[in-house]
Amino acid sequence: MAMASYKRDAALDRLWRWFGQSWMFIAFFIGFFLFWEYSIVLFKIPLYILTPPSLIVTKGWADIARLVQYTYVTGLETLLGYVVAVIVALPIGLAIAFSSILRRTIYPFLVCIEMVPKIAFAPLFISWLGFGLLPKVIIVFMVCFFPIVLNAILAFNSLSEELTRFSLSTGAGVWRTFLKIRLPAAMPQCFVGFKYAGLNATVGAAIAEFIGSDQGLGFYIQITTGNMRPELAFAGIFFLTAIGLVLFGTITLAERLIIPWHISVRRTRA
């Protein structure tokens, strides 16, 4: 009994502390939406240009079934493209980091391709592969692949001189050195790539859908804007943002679990 109340007090205490740190941000957030809501009345902005948040919520709620279904479609494209990018880019980055031949061939090629705006390929992929899931996944993959690969190369190439020498002096083989030292040492820089790619992923999915699709949030935003329904377009943008937040949140959580010792994670924990 006493234990339970102690637990509840501790939880309340934590909530209170969180509020103490965050109330300014919450207040600003609420203020922002209030300003949005009432500036429309105040400055007499026509409804077909900008809609108040209250209308976005009510009209969006009326169309919630379609929004949820399209969130699933776009979410799936984003997730597939991202996961495939991680699975493909990491080993390629690793191979380039350890092979001087690949570093002189594939690496400069990748850097050149990185200069090309990947989105420019989107219409081509749509025309090659049609309106389905695959071209969207490929476009998400392309915008996620490069940040992961380039950061992985950097990560696996920057072991400190001391740790390299230490590894050599133990006589450990390549594989053991990799597992026990190189791989964990490379994780923080790899996560820089994972996070950057995570930010790109929803952008890629939305633009791919703008160019050619018959479902998904990008399609929804385009159609509703064309039909002079900006409140629904805003609702679509909200759900698109939610996908991005969930993806980024998951990556950040994984980072905290995998490299809790790293300074970037330690700082946010304190």
Binding site: S160, E162, L163, R165, F166, S167, L168, S169, T170, G171, A172, R176, T177, K180, I181, P184, A185, I259, W261, H262, I263, R266
Partner: protein, 255 residues
């Protein structure tokens, strides 16, 4: 007395042609088993280069090095090594870092738990075994790194300015621990430093190294009793050794 480490005409040149930097040598040197020799010199004199060549981590441009009866051809694994920046990995605890040395060598850790505990205790880290390196002070980190370099009980220990980044008081304290541990198992130690007092306090021999190109100017035997505590450090013999070395460096314009 057998010589455990032998250097013959060893020199190191970085680069080639007109841009070549003559970093070190030629040097001849013999280090006996169980000795504690310091390479003492100003920064940039090549003393670390020399240590890395003994470890087989750097190839000499000329000459030959023999350690324990075999030519040094590649990285030697029968040594313990420690640098100014510690080789502690941030994702492992103090104990985990010490055990890393064993794991890397394929030595089963389970059999040696006691040894790790005892070694940590000997440098006053028993209460910090489960802490991560970032939770320790600089001095504690170097103590942990010392355990990591010693846990496989190497006959040869190479220390490259291990106390270089620490404050004066911490240095003094760790020096005393270092000396106590050396006296206990008497490994052969090569200790790189730029502190004259540190070299005289710890060493059986001090190799005085002059600036670039680095050369061993002289080897001074320090025949003072161990352990060299405050009484010894305040003795006229100790102070004379320090003054002699100061004069050598003064002559070269580095002091």
């Amino acid at each position: 007395m057998t010589d455990l480490i032998e250097l013959r005409g060893v020199s190191k040149i970085y680069g080639a042609g007109d841009a070549a930097v003559h970093a070190f040598g030629p040097v001849d040197l013999a280090i006996g088993e169980g000795r504690f020799i310091s390479f003492l010199g100003p920064s940039g004199c090549g003393k670390s280069t020399l240590m890395l060549m003994i470890a087989g981590l750097l190839e000499p441009s000329a000459g030959s090095i023999r350690v324990n009866g075999t030519d040094v051809k590649g990285p030697r694994t029968d040594i313990g090594i420690m640098f100014q920046d510690s080789t502690l990995v941030p994702w492992r605890t103090v104990r985990g870092n010490v055990e890393l040395q064993l794991e890397m060598r394929g030595i089963p850790v389970a059999d040696l738990r006691e040894r790790v505990t005892a070694l940590l205790k000997s440098v006053h880290l028993e209460d910090f075994a489960d802490r991560l390196p970032f939770e320790l002070s600089g001095g504690m980190q170097q103590r942990a790194a010392f355990c990591q370099a010693m846990i496989h009980e190497p006959k040869i220990v190479l220390l490259d300015e291990p106390l270089g980044k620490l404050d004066a008081m911490t240095r003094e304290h760790i020096r005393a621990d270092l000396q106590r541990l050396w006296m206990r198992s008497r490994p052969t130690v090569v200790f790189v430093t730029h502190s004259i007092e540190e070299a005289v306090q710890l060493s059986t021999e001090v190799a005085v190294i002059t600036p670039r190109p680095g050369k061993i100017e002289t080897i001074i035997p320090v025949e003072l009793p161990f352990p060299r505590d405050l009484t010894v450090k305040n003795s006229p013999e100790f102070i004379r050794h320090v003054q002699d070395i100061q004069e050598i460096f003064h002559g070269y314009g580095v002091l």
